[in-house]
């Protein structure tokens, strides 16, 4: 399933957004329900997220890899994880560009899910992902600005 969207950081330059988004300690502050995010290799991080959207909840353990970094403008992200509600894996691109006095961030990716979340949650995964992504970027904007 494709997930894409954009977010505008008003008055925050791409460099500031970039440094935040590539710093695991700072990402962890904004990932909703993130309980653990540790660097395991140069570009890979292990994470544990307590996930909750309405009645749906669960703990996901997995990894994030940031690769093909083109500083301040683009990077690729590979995410994989599993937990009680099933497994999720995905790949995506994050692009940053100057926009007025701030930064326009675009993201696009492909996410696949399996297990219980795929049977009942299939129709909600896209929306739930968008909710979490939006919360994340709003938090980032608050902390960088």
């Amino acid at each position: 399933m494709k997930i894409e969207g954009q977010f505008t950081f008003d008055g925050i330059a791409p460099l500031a957004v970039w440094s935040f988004l590539t710093d695991p300690n700072r990402i962890a502050q904004c990932l909703p329900g993130c309980e653990k995010l540790v660097q395991t290799t140069e570009d890979t991080y292990d994470m544990e997220m307590r996930f909750g959207v309405g009645a749906i909840s669960g703990v996901f353990r997995g990894s994030i890899r940031l690769h093909d970094l083109k500083p301040t403008s683009e990077y690729q992200m590979t995410v994989g994880g599993s937990g009680t509600p099933g497994f999720v894996k995905g790949e995506g691109t994050v692009q940053l560009a100057p926009h007025d006095t701030g930064t326009l961030l675009r993201y696009s990716g492909d996410v696949a899910a399996g297990g219980p979340i795929a049977s009942l949650g299939q129709r909600m995964i896209g929306g739930a992902a968008r909710m979490v992504i939006d919360q994340f970027f709003k938090c980032v904007a608050g902390k960088v600005g």
């Binding site: 009645a55 009942l120 968008r130």
Partner: protein, 288 residues
């Protein structure tokens, strides 16, 4: 699958249920008819440690006609709403929605309060709830609160309810004069959930002009919404086929649609335009 272990508590009043929620915080969930939460628990998508069953509190199941508004108790089942004379006569869109939910077993057990508090993005009621501009009366630790429909559905599975708050009653204002309403949906074949559902509520004046129009749409995005542009364009107009069609082209303007294996985002946005028109036509037919 079998749900994770949980403790089961049966309060005898809503006040007691609120106290239990306060005591157990985020580890508890309220269950009424159990037709949204229990399937999720069986799939282990939800794993509350405490299940507070308010389904046996008798005084929360009623439909009362107060003249200017209809008051529906939170535990009123879909079947009771579908078959109620008062609802069918005065709020037909709500009866339509109730009758189209799931199957007969779901309708016998599932409740209005439970469905809206769960806020499934594809649930049927929210379209009518926002179109009728209903008010949710809730009970929480600080007492009663009234939440208008326009503020109630916040996001997917997320409402304006606080963690320790429970829906007690739904109040639906009734228009007087020549009024009609209808709810239509395109259901996903296996689950019966709405891929798109539209509720329209209209009021016609003596000359056949639309003096009030509201359209609520569910299934398309993270939560139900009003087709505000279409409403504004139609108000004060005579509802000819062309006028309706043209106005409904804007029914899903500015909406970020869901996209899944059942329907793409573009398809959903198109369904919203079509079902808005069909619901309006049905509502107008009932008003005349």
């Amino acid at each position: 699958m079998i749900a994770q272990n949980f403790e089961y508590v049966v309060p005898t009043s809503l006040g007691e249920a609120v106290n239990l929620l306060q005591k157990h915080g985020g580890r508890a969930k309220v269950v009424a008819g159990g037709h949204s939460l229990i399937p999720m628990m069986k799939l282990r998508l939800a794993a509350p440690e405490f299940l507070i069953d308010i389904g046996r509190i008798p005084e929360l199941s009623y439909i009362k006609d107060d003249g200017g508004k209809i008051r529906v108790g939170a535990l009123t089942t879909h079947y009771m709403i579908e078959t109620s004379d008062v609802i069918r006569r005065r709020l037909p869109a709500l009866a339509d929605a109730a009758g189209l939910i799931g199957d007969v077993q779901v309708r016998n057990k599932g409740t209005l309060g439970g469905s809206i508090a769960h806020a499934d993005p594809a649930a049927d009621y929210p379209a009518s709830i926002v179109a009728f501009d209903a008010t949710m009366v809730t009970l929480g630790p600080k007492g009663e609160r009234q939440i208008p429909a326009s503020k109630f559905f916040v996001d997917m599975l997320t409402t304006a309810l606080d963690q320790n708050e429970i829906v007690r009653e739904i109040q639906v204002p009734v228009k007087t004069g020549k009024t009609g309403s209808a709810y239509l949906k395109m259901a996903q074949k296996a689950s019966g959930f709405a891929i798109c559902g539209a509720a329209a509520v209209v009021e016609l004046d003596g000359s056949g002009t639309l003096s009030s129009v509201s359209i609520g749409i569910t299934g398309i995005s993270n939560h139900a919404f009003r087709a505000a542009k279409t409403e504004a364009e139609l108000k004060g107009q005579k509802p000819s086929a062309d006028t309706l069609k043209k106005a409904c082209e804007k029914a899903s303007d500015g909406v970020v649609a869901l996209d899944d294996i059942h329907a793409s985002a573009d398809y959903r946005l198109d369904l919203a335009r079509i079902y808005a028109r069909r619901a309006l036509e049905a509502a107008i037919k009932r008003a005349t």
